[in-house]
């Protein structure tokens, strides 16, 4: 069966009445949570995971795809109307879209974001559908040692490119690795960092960690450090529609954004920050009205929003084909798969082919449902921004605790959640990035597994780790990612001195 036929099969199994109902519910809930200020897609998905625990895998997947797109869309609405980006990929949308809203063009900004996301999502999912299987075919030949190199590259790029301080990025990663160590070692049974606690032998669950570090950490941080908060909601006049002129100015940025965002999602380039900033500067260079940028130019919303969405779909390529998440959102998706007993990786298309094609079909359906449902409903979502802050935080925190407990019906997970919440507070207080920690926690055990596998094959000869051409190339990239920030800093200092 070729890819196209498989995709059609995927649509057939995705398009049942029950699945569509779950898709609609997912779109609704995803937008509902994503629109809440300060909640990015990663947290929105993690918060909503408990809902999918007992649903059948194919319904869960379609619901999940809908939640994913809904959360992304909800996030851009909040960025435009409230100027509170929930994740780094929405920073540009907040910058330019909020200016548009202030000029009375909120409707056009929301529409170009939604339609741009839809187009980018559709193109990117199509590319995903036709490239991921071939990448997975290639990836089957990727050996354990190459995986070790790949993961080390992902660690380095995410820790050293995100945030302002390399050391803080790597510390965050290392703490994630420590959390990943907890529990009985699978190979030897050695219990590590359990301190005699029976519940800890199973290891630390990822879902409570992700939810707590975002939600509880944020609640504690705002409680301790901020007072007299007030929001400036920009009232939306008219409907979320675009004029002919808006369409003319938007369509090229959508396309360019898509083709910038997708490839940068496939390689571990540190998430959606880089492509959205790149798209913004490209649009500014190519625009006939560069003076409007920074004051509310529609191209500055259309391009980055498309780039953000295509980037998210691009991140699914390494996730599905290699089992390698490259952003916080992708990491949460990996965890979600694992709760349905699906292990992403090169063999996924062989062992669980039908389910994966259902997922890809679900991505198309979720994306379409979103466009149909959300543009007309945008006023409903705007009302949500008026939820009083105390209630908002109370709801998020209670839901986070519910999620932590419901996973295994165990109070140990709740204890972990509270501890991680305090850690999240400290991370915010001391300017440490969060994404490296999540990657470390999820990929750490995997890294150790592949490392051992590589050395078992070579009989303990460590040179096997850099024996293949691929691993050599990857270590070269790693060194580049590690030293580029240092070199540029030194160069800047030298230049300052000579001036």
């Amino acid at each position: 069966m070729n890819n196209f036929e498989s995709l059609i099969q995927g649509f057939v199994s995705a398009l049942t009445f029950t699945n569509l109902a779950f898709g609609l519910l997912g779109t609704f809930l995803g937008t509902l949570v994503g629109v809440l200020p300060g909640i990015g897609p990663a947290l929105a998905i993690a918060l909503l995971l408990p809902i999918t625990y007992t649903v059948s895998p194919s319904s869960a997947l379609i619901m999940f795809a809908a939640i994913y797109y809904g959360a992304m869309y909800g996030g851009s609405t909040t960025s435009i109307l409230l100027n509170t980006p929930g994740e780094s990929g929405s920073v540009i949308t907040a910058l330019e879209g909020n200016k548009m809203a202030r000029r009375g063009q909120a409707g056009a900004a929301l529409a170009t974001a939604a339609i741009g996301s839809f187009i980018a999502g559709t193109i990117a999912t199509t590319i995903l559908a036709f490239t991921a299987p071939s990448i997975a075919d290639l990836a089957i030949k990727v050996g354990a040692a190459d995986y070790v190199a790949l993961m080390l590259v992902a660690f380095t790029t995410v820790s050293s490119l995100l945030g302002s301080s390399q050391i803080r990025g790597f510390i965050s990663l290392t703490i994630g690795l420590v959390l990943g160590l907890v529990g009985a070692d699978l190979q030897s049974g050695l219990s590590r960092l359990t301190f005699g606690n029976q519940a800890a032998v199973e290891g630390i669950e990822t879902v409570p960690v992700i939810v707590s570090i975002f939600a509880l950490g944020e609640a504690l941080y705002i409680a301790a450090r901020f007072k007299e908060l007030g929001w400036n909601i920009i009232p939306m006049k008219g409907r979320a529609l675009m004029s002919r002129q808006d369409w003319k100015r938007s369509w090229k940025p959508w396309i360019r954004g898509t083709f910038l965002g997708f490839p940068l999602g496939v390689i571990p380039a540190g998430g959606s920050e880089v492509p959205t900033f790149l798209s913004y500067s490209v649009e500014k260079k190519l625009s006939k009205h560069p003076e409007e940028f920074g004051k509310g130019a529609i191209e500055g919303v259309a391009g980055p929003e498309a780039a953000n969405n295509a980037n998210a779909a691009g991140a699914l390529v390494p996730l599905l084909a290699l089992g390698l998440p490259t952003s916080a959102t992708a990491a949460v998706i990996l965890v979600a798969f694992q709760t349905y007993q699906i292990q992403p990786g090169p063999t996924l298309f062989l062992t669980n082919g039908a389910l994966i094609w259902t997922l890809i079909a679900s991505l198309f359906i979720g994306n379409t449902l979103l466009l149909i449902l959300n543009l007309p409903l945008v006023r409903v979502w705007v009302q949500l921004l008026k939820v009083p802050r105390p209630y908002l935080f109370a709801g998020i925190v209670t839901f986070a605790m519910l999620g932590a407990y419901a996973l295994n019906a165990s109070t140990f997970d709740v204890q972990v959640a509270i501890a991680i919440g305090i850690l999240g507070f400290l991370f915010r207080r001391f300017g440490m990035p969060i994404t490296p920690l999540i990657l470390g926690l999820i990929l750490g055990p995997n890294l150790e597994l592949q490392f051992r596998r590589a050395l078992q094959i070579s009989g303990g000869d460590y040179s096997t780790l850099w024996a293949t051409p691929l691993s050599k190339a990857l270590y070269f990239v790693l060194i580049l990612a590690l030293f580029t920030p240092v070199v540029t800093r030194v160069l800047r200092k030298v230049r300052q001195r000579t001036h």
């Binding site: 980006p85 803080r168 105390p390 305090i422």
Partner: protein, 163 residues
Amino acid sequence: MKLPAGAKSELIFASSLFALGLIVFVDTVREKLPAFNLTVSPKLFPYLISSILMTLSVLLAIQIVRGNQAIPEGVEEGEPIEKSDFKTFSIVLASLFAFLLLIERAGFIIAASITFFGITVAFDNKRHLRAAVFGTLFIVIIYLSFTRFLNVPLPAGIFKGIL
């Protein structure tokens, strides 16, 4: 030597990171290896990770002393206050512990309602009665939709047999 302003609390943070690394190291030393031989010792990664963490926290401490301090994460909607408000912080933390202590003893509805109410108090809500009533209603709806529609079991506690 005079420290840059505000560096003290961050230095405490850096030293607790060092302590965490040390704990991992000591725990690894104390565990007994299994009798059979393994190509890669299960102690290798803990040793590596703890050494990296300790090295990095020393480097961080050096950076702090040299004046390269953390930039606390900004929140768009408000101005940060200079000194942490530990009273509000404790109310939030106490609400979290209330959930932990009550979830299996009193059930989800009571535990979650108290947490919900506690957070609204921390975030400066003035109308306490309204928050309590609304919060409890919200929690009951959540409880019923999870246990009835989604089949996710939550402890009924003292409402066993009633709800």
